[in-house]
Amino acid sequence: MRLTDEDYRDIQGLVRFGYRHLGSARFHLLTLVDLSAARAWLSEAPVTTAVKGKRPDTALHVAFSYDGLRKLGGRPDTLAQFPYEFKSGMTEPSRARRLGDVNANDPNEWQWGGPGNVPDVLVMLYAVTPQRLDEWEQQIKSKTWGTAFAPLACLTTTDGGDIEPFGFNDGINQPVLDWEGRNPAQHFTTSYTNIAALGEVLLGYPNEYGKYTDRPLVTPADDPDELLPKAEDAPGKKDLGRNGTYLVFRDLAQDAPAFWQFVNDGAARAREDRHSFAADMVGRSPAEIPVMSGDRAIGSYDQRSRTPGDPIVALGRDAIPGVGPDADDIRQNQFTFHDDVNGTACPYGAHIRRANPRNADLPEGTRGLFGRLLRILGFGRTHPHDDLIASTRFHRILRRGREYAFEATRKDGARVVERGLRFMCLNGNISRQFEFIQASWLINPKFEGLDEQDPLLGNRAPLATARAMFTRPQASGLCSRRSPLAQFVHVRGGAYFFMPGLAALRYLARNPR
């Protein structure tokens, strides 16, 4: 499965690069109006590739929703091969319920992506400066753009220096993709790894199971211009998916004042500094603590005991594959929660512990043939929480989100600052990766035996026994709890996109019949 230079030229660069140096970005959500104009634009769009070289000062990426692909007019039997979750979309009611998109997150209230409001095409523009972004946009919006597309929404971003609106560093931990295919698929791993098989993100390559995720394959007859690469796992078939990935977009509005009000009150009540209270909710030290009017917190709360972004559990002694050699990365990511089995260093419910529990297939420390056999049969547990959480390596995503902040006028005329995250992630299997993390870990009120949702992302929807609270286990044994927890994050939009390889993009633009 070695990647050739041709593959790197085929992969959209966003898969390989986070574009930290491109501080300005804008995302266009578009509806297809004139197909031939759209095809013309798509076949000439200077989409950025994954080839390493001189850092570009701009980047362009294109992705399609299922509606968009259908409008573009691919063959129905080809499109039917896309997975169910992509075809039925983020707002299918059962899925929305599972993802927590109910009540205040109801897709019918979304600014975009809700029923009847799903964009066909997502065009992402990046540049080094706002001026360069404007120029780049002018350049991209060639004469066919206006006839091809109608704008559904244009999402701005701000260069927050990787600090999200609640004041925490974002995107500190990302899985490292195994580009070279060095790690063969394994069974029953016993230690956490930060390396993910390429197929976990890119279609057309083996995933963590050592299998190829299903994606549209076409017969050579359906690819008369021979645009598409061959399918590695299906002799005689061409691969529409190869070098493509699914992009999950969630437009998240963050209520930073409410979050910090909660932290303030909670810290005051618990008589501790709000730095550590906030750090407990996330699992890492905050980078910025806003000073609030009416602060009631006690103690020297702005004293920082840790560098922003550092985890609140102790670092492990052993190296973790895919962490380092960069010293910052080691300081921020060389840890698991294995030694914090009671959650006293980092609460079970802390955001980063939910989003990435950092475990392996078998509980860490399982040794020897007998030990493995015991574990495989479900024996040998030493703690009630032992072996409770699903293995992490099947549930990783590559995050590519950007922060935003802009001034807006509320209905009552007051000027407010709207803040939030244009959350984006890339994965090869939406239901096993993004949806699993969101549904089974983040908003699942029963994660790790708790009765509460993620302290940041929870929708606080009432569920039989769950309470809107945040629980922190204490060394004394008794948990410290703080409630009620308001809803700090509201979903304002979202959709599933397919971000094809460049060859597939040309193929789709060509509209073979």
């Binding site: 169910y84 299998k211 495989i376 049969l377 009120p445 039989a464 004394s476 044994g477 709890r481």
Partner: protein
């Protein structure tokens, strides 16, 4: 489980009737007027499922004639005590509703004796799993109530408790609950004694495997006179080994399993003493493996992606609560070899589920409340039904990643299961093929009842720990801390 063929012309009408019991798609109102499940205090879970197999065309791909299975109605329940007692109570309390439902089944008339009919149509499971044998509905509810009370007390007195040491906190919590226990707002009923008959039957059932392991020794008795020369060095040696192994294993695994392993070790000296039967035994094993591999290699692998409309229907019933229901209906691969193998495998699963895994986990799976495998139509097809925690995707991932080998064992004889090797390899390792197959064979429930919404297996286990600690006379400091952690 009560199963009976439906008058197919009236299928839609029956669906409407069963659907009228629900307040959410697929979930029953506990006090619905047809079968008010909530009134049965010993009932954990119950459901009505219509079993109409939409995958029978797979037989054609297999190269076998398509069987003419009738559409059947299945009524499943998980209860405390004997199933027959539950049927009696159901017939008494919900007789008219049940009559109304079963009147859609062939041969059920106004004059049919409901109870006798239900017993006649009862189908015992080939394998059954209960997460915690002996945990009653009443216990679950009382313990949940106790923990809720303790947690509420902890939350309202956090500031005060911060200054106390753990034993003090525990004393205050116990004190807080005393008046509630006195006036009946909290109740902790003593455990009901296990009926003697059940215990005897259980021990006798357990004895089957140890007896089978001892049988070769019994057969060998005539040959032990005079004692073979190797007897005195070999048998005591292995006897001592078996005892040591048992003592070592029992620390890690249930005694029931350790004992079987130790007895297994005792078969080794028998083969040393009497090497003659080794050859025929090996031949039998080799022939079995050859036949198995032949079938595994030559049977066509029939995998289809489930229809979008089918998934939509199933998922519309899921994730309203932390628990969900699952029914999978399929056919046994049409060969005598597979039918016999399936029966043997399910017997083994049932045996170990009953005697080894009735304490909180099935293998590594800690999210199944109840599960059962039931043969239908003369062992030509099979229903698997379970009640589990979390979303469907998580349930399947749990299966694949934690007990893929056991999944292969349990379903390798099912038509449409991904190809396995040596029974336990392959199969569910092919994640997507497995997910397609199970989803395609899944049947929606018409109505489903759960006695304790919002409680997962983990919750039940933790609440039982809380109660146990609550009733303890003395505790070490470390135990008190561990107890407080559960609040």
């Amino acid at each position: 489980m009560v199963v009976a063929p439906i008058v197919e012309a009236r299928l839609t009408e029956l669906r409407t009737l069963l659907g009228s019991m629900n307040d959410r798609p697929g979930t029953a109102r506990p006090d619905n007027s047809i079968v008010p499940f909530g009134r049965f205090e010993k009932l954990h879970y119950a459901r009505f499922v219509i079993l109409d197999d939409q995958t029978l065309q797979d037989f054609e791909e297999y190269g076998a004639p398509i069987p003419d299975f009738s559409v059947v109605l299945a009524f499943l329940g998980d209860c405390d005590g004997p199933a027959d007692d539950m049927l009696v109570e159901m017939a008494r309390v919900a007789g008219s509703g049940l009559r109304q439902i079963f009147s859609f089944c062939r041969g059920f008339t106004d004059n049919t004796d409901l109870l006798a009919w239900m017993k006649d149509h009862s189908q015992a499971p080939a394998a059954n799993y209960v997460n915690w044998v002996g945990r009653t509905v009443r216990q679950v509810r009382e313990e949940a109530r106790l923990r809720d009370e303790l947690v509420a007390c902890v939350m309202s007195r956090q500031d005060e408790f911060r200054l106390d040491d753990p034993p003090q906190i525990r004393a205050k919590l116990l004190e807080h609950c005393q008046p509630l226990l006195k006036d009946g707002r909290l109740r902790l009923s003593p455990e009901e004694p296990t009926p003697l008959g059940w215990r005897v039957r259980n021990v006798l059932h357990y004895a089957i495997v140890p007896a089978a392991l001892l049988l070769p020794w019994l057969l060998a008795i005539p040959a032990l006179d005079p004692l073979p020369s190797l007897f005195s060095p070999v048998v005591p040696l292995f006897g001592a080994l078996a005892v040591l192994l048992f003592v070592f294993l029992v620390v890690h695994i249930p005694a029931a399993l350790a004992f079987i392993v130790a007895l297994g070790v005792m078969l080794v000296p028998l083969f040393i003493l009497f090497p003659l039967p080794i050859a025929p035994t090996l031949v039998v094993v080799a022939v079995f493996l050859w036949v198995l591999r032949h079938f595994e290699k030559t049977e066509p692998e029939i995998i289809h992606r489930p229809e979008v409309s089918h998934i939509l229907q199933l998922s519309s019933q899921e994730d309203y609560d932390v628990t969900n229901q699952f029914n999978a209906l399929g056919s046994v691969k049409p060969s005598r070899f597979r039918r016999v193998l399936f029966v043997v495998i399910l017997w083994v699963i049932d045996y170990f589920a009953r005697h080894v895994f009735g304490r909180g986990h099935l293998g590594r799976i800690r999210t199944i409340h109840f599960a059962r495998w039931v043969f239908l139509d003369g062992r030509r097809r099979m229903l698997f039904a379970s009640n589990y925690d979390g979303s469907h995707e998580a349930y399947m991932d749990d299966f694949i990643n934690k007990v893929g080998w056991a999944l292969n064992l349990a379903f390798t004889c099912g038509l449409g299961y991904p190809r396995t090797q040596w029974i336990i390899k392959g199969g569910a390792d092919d994640e997507l093929k497995f997910k397609y197959t199970q989803r395609r064979h899944q049947k929606p429930t018409e109505t489903w009842y759960r006695a304790y919404a919002g409680l997962t297996v983990y919750d039940l286990e933790r609440n039982a720990r809380v109660r146990e600690g609550f009733e303890r006379r003395t505790m070490t400091d470390a135990e008190v801390r561990a107890w407080l952690r559960d609040l």
